[in-house]
Amino acid sequence: MTAVTPVTLRRQVELTIDGQAVTAGEGATILEACRAAGIEVPTLCYLETLAPVNVCRVCVVEVEGSRALVPSCSRPVAAAMVVHTASERVRTSRRMVLELLASSVDLSTAGRDVHRWIEEHGARPERHGPAAPPAERDHAHAGHHEPPEAGLAATVAQAVKRDNDQYVRDYAKCILCYKCVEACGEEAQNTFAIAVAGRGFDARISTELDVALPDSACVYCGNCIGVCPTGALMFVSEHDLRARGEWDESRQEVTRTVCPYCGVGCNLDLHVQDNRIVKVTSPLDHDVTSGNLCVKGRFGFEFAQGGS
């Protein structure tokens, strides 16, 4: 939104998506081309402000001539490309990705779209068996695991981590989309308090050796929470309101204003319920913050509602 933005001229590329002739700028991704053409492609690990990591694979599409399906979020369009977003292969893989996630992760606070996609694709997580009980997952040694208990489906269920006044980490809800790691790391905050540790089904978001957040490099900018798609990371304010059954988005209003602290001019979106700020986010589409804030902007609003 910078007022004076040098315009980069891009060549146009013509391709076919689901039988429809589509034109897209060179360098655009298939996903962008699909969205421009009004074709819905589900995404989980994709976010406009982050470089695509293409790990969830729910956005895969079929590109003629390509052996495997390709992630639409990261593959650039090419001239004369022929793309299918709803072929049997695509639908099978999408259904299975959703099914695998739903069978292993608590998606109860994931967005509505996720549940719609699960239904639309006919994913049946229950066919993987009853869920295994919660387990300790933070010290799994790479290359070794307990064999699955016969008949039970392993999940990422585990105890909620609450080790500070502002964040709740409920990794039973984590789909390992890497967004929090990217936001904490190179894509925004560059604090690198968390990363993906371990591997395979034991891969997990972790600080170094799973030390508590207050012992980690975390600076509580909340940018990880800002990008979490499933509610695995949540502000204490939201978490506690939900726990009390008082969280009600239909009663919330979102107002955009400017942070009352330093002179950078970060835009805040204040989520207000019953004249109280219950959450602070920042617009993804504003150049100053690209959705990111610091600890003061994110949490420093209590003074305005009797916190001082």
Binding site: M1, T2, A3, V4, N164, D165, Q166, E186, A188, Q189, N190, L213, P214, A217, C218, V219, Y220, C221, E253, T255, R256, T257, V258, C259, P260, Y261, C262, G263, V264, G265, C266, N267, L268, L270, V272, N275, R276, I277, D285, H286, D287, V288, T289, S290, N292, L293, C294, V295, K296, G297, F299, G300, F301, E302, F303, A304, Q305, G306, G307, S308
Partner: protein, 558 residues
């Protein structure tokens, strides 16, 4: 700079520059989202030099950190300038076409050899030379600073010394090259832009300019006094002299934020009448005869603020203010009504539209445009103007007509900090912000920050050892103004002889009891950054445990 008071560049430019010089700024903690943009620049390959007495969290990202002695900024800047001239790295064409006063400047920096620079700043000569060469050779360079430059008795000269470097190398007026003062509060820039400074009317129009004043007089139906006013430090002196007897304070907390604050409190107590308009009953408000409860601007009011990149953005009310608290416009209008003129109850947009009609650099910033564009950077002279990404591009025009007034070099002299170090007061205390806190804590004290720890005197491991104090031990810290007691905290980013505190917890540790209120005559800023102190163990405390050995430096604080 060179006229209007605002940073020349946009945040986006620091992402696309080749060299960043961060001088007297710990933006990593004081301006975290600006630092995101800076980090993007580093990721794209920009080099960074950080000039700061502490190896702050920002400095830890630097390719080269120059740990200068507190208050030696002008010595360093002049040594850089001399080295640039000496090695033939001056942008001679820019200097010839777009500047004046080069010869005088060159003469003024002549004594600042590299060796002299090293002697005055503590930074090795080779490192000074390295920065001089890197800055002069960079195709694009951004020179950024904050209070580390301005909270000195030589504040304005410090800034001018940096501007001289930009002029010498042509690092101003081009995309990616500029001078970037980072603003400490969300509307410091806007306040100045709106004329809340002693010598300007809105839009940096000089109050002593008759033509300008005539337009304001006409619009306001009143006469604007044709004289410069006082800035805060001058006001405090006027109170002391008895020339100023009544004070109306809006949203400031001078009883705690001013250097040598006990002195300030005494002055405020001696006033005939003190009115304080604030959202809290601050220490200052507690001294007031009348307190006007105000709504929180950022959350409860309509209006605009202006950021460090000159971007005017909308504030919108999200919360209903508590019973009795009113929007600033309402308070001011009500006050005006009782003093005579009835302004009615204008909306924020109506006030803004009046401002646009009087301040040419804001003329194009209709509310709906601010909305649509996510804010607009001044100058924006007309409603079809997109705003201005960077200032002073005119200096690069080939046509002298378009180039306009050249930018002057301003020779500045080096004066060390006033609060001298002596055997009795051997430690230099400097101040700054921590990431999770803000100024005197009026706003930031209200939330539960997991990073927060009590205020402490931060000392180098060497000083802790030689003083025989242990982590957490409460000590007495004394300056020429006063003493406080405060716990000690080990900080490995400090060198021996350098201590650090913040002003965030005045009720627990009133740092500004120690600081010197001598201010820069040009800007009115007090010398918060350079206090001579001594540290004494409290009587009755037996021998302290030795400082624990630790291999890795502790960062993330300080």
């Amino acid at each position: 700079m060179f006229g209007a008071g605002g940073g020349t560049s946009s945040y986006r430019e620091i992402e696309e520059t080749d060299l960043v010089v961060l001088w007297g700024s710990n933006a990593r903690e004081a301006h975290p989202i600006f630092f995101h943009h800076l980090l993007e620049g580093l990721r794209r390959g920009a080099k960074m030099y950080v000039v700061d007495p502490r190896r702050s969290t920002s400095a830890q990202w630097a390719d080269v950190w120059l740990g200068i002695d507190v208050g030696s900024d002008i010595a360093l800047a002049n040594a850089l300038g001399r080295e640039i001239i000496e090695t033939g790295l001056v942008d001679t064409e820019f200097v010839r076409r777009a500047t004046t006063g080069f010869e005088e400047y060159a003469a003024s920096v002549e004594p600042f050899t590299l060796a002299e620079g090293e002697r005055l700043t503590g930074v090795p000569a080779s490192v000074i030379a390295d920065l001089a060469h890197a800055y002069a050779r960079a195709d694009r360079a951004q020179l950024c600073w904050t209070l580390g430059i301005t909270e000195h008795h030589t504040a304005t000269d410090n800034v001018l010394a940096l501007c001289n470097l930009a002029l010498l190398t042509g690092h101003v007026g081009r995309f990616g090259s500029g001078l970037v003062p980072l603003r400490g509060q969300n509307n410091v820039q806007g306040g100045g832009d709106m004329g809340a400074i002693p010598n300007k009317l809105p839009g940096f129009q000089d109050v002593e300019d008759d033509a300008v004043r005539a337009r304001f007089d006409a619009a306001w139906g009143a006469t604007v006094p044709p004289r410069h006013g006082w800035h805060l430090s001058q006001m405090l002196e006027a109170i002391e002299r008895g020339d100023l007897r009544a004070l109306y304070v809006l949203g400031e907390n001078p009883a705690q934020s001013e250097a040598d604050d006990r002195h300030t409190v005494r002055l405020l107590e001696g006033l005939d009448h003190l009115v304080v308009q604030d959202i809290f009953l601050t220490k200052t408000a507690q001294l007031a005869d009348v307190v006007l409860p105000a709504a929180v601007a950022a959350f409860e009011c309509d209006g605009t603020v202006t950021s460090s990149e000159r971007r005017v953005q909308r504030l919108r009310p999200a919360l209903r203010p508590p019973e009795g608290a009113l929007d600033d416009i309402e308070i001011l209008s009500a006050l005006a009504r009782r003093l005579g003129p009835d302004w009615g109850r204008p909306s924020a947009e109506e006030v803004w539209d009046e401002c646009r009609s009087l301040s040419p650099m804001h003329a194009g910033m209709r509310y709906d445009r601010l909305e649509a564009l996510g804010g607009i950077q001044w100058p924006c002279p007309s409603e079809d103007h997109p705003g201005t990404m960077f200032l002073h591009s005119r200096l690069w025009e080939e046509d002298p007509e378009k180039r306009g007034q050249p930018a002057p070099f301003t020779p500045v002299t080096f004066e060390p900090p006033l609060d001298e170090l002596t055997d009795e007061l051997p430690i230099r205390l400097t101040t700054g912000r921590r990431l999770d806190s803000f100024n005197t804590g009026v706003q930031s004290g209200g939330y539960a920050s997991p990073l927060r720890r009590p205020e402490a005197l931060e000392l180098s491991p060497e000083d802790m050892a030689s003083l025989g104090v242990a982590e957490g031990e409460v000590v007495q810290v004394s300056s020429r103004r006063g003493s406080i007691t405060v716990p000690v905290h080990l900080d490995r980013t400090l060198r021996p002889g350098l201590a650090f505190m913040t002003p965030h917890f005045p009720d627990q540790a009133d740092t500004n009891v120690l600081t010197l209120d001598t201010w820069d005559p040009k800007s009115g800023t007090a010398e918060f950054k350079a206090t001579a102190i001594r540290v004494d163990r409290l009587p009755g405390d037996s021998g302290a445990a030795p400082v624990p050995e630790k291999a890795s430096e502790k960062a993330g604080v300080g």
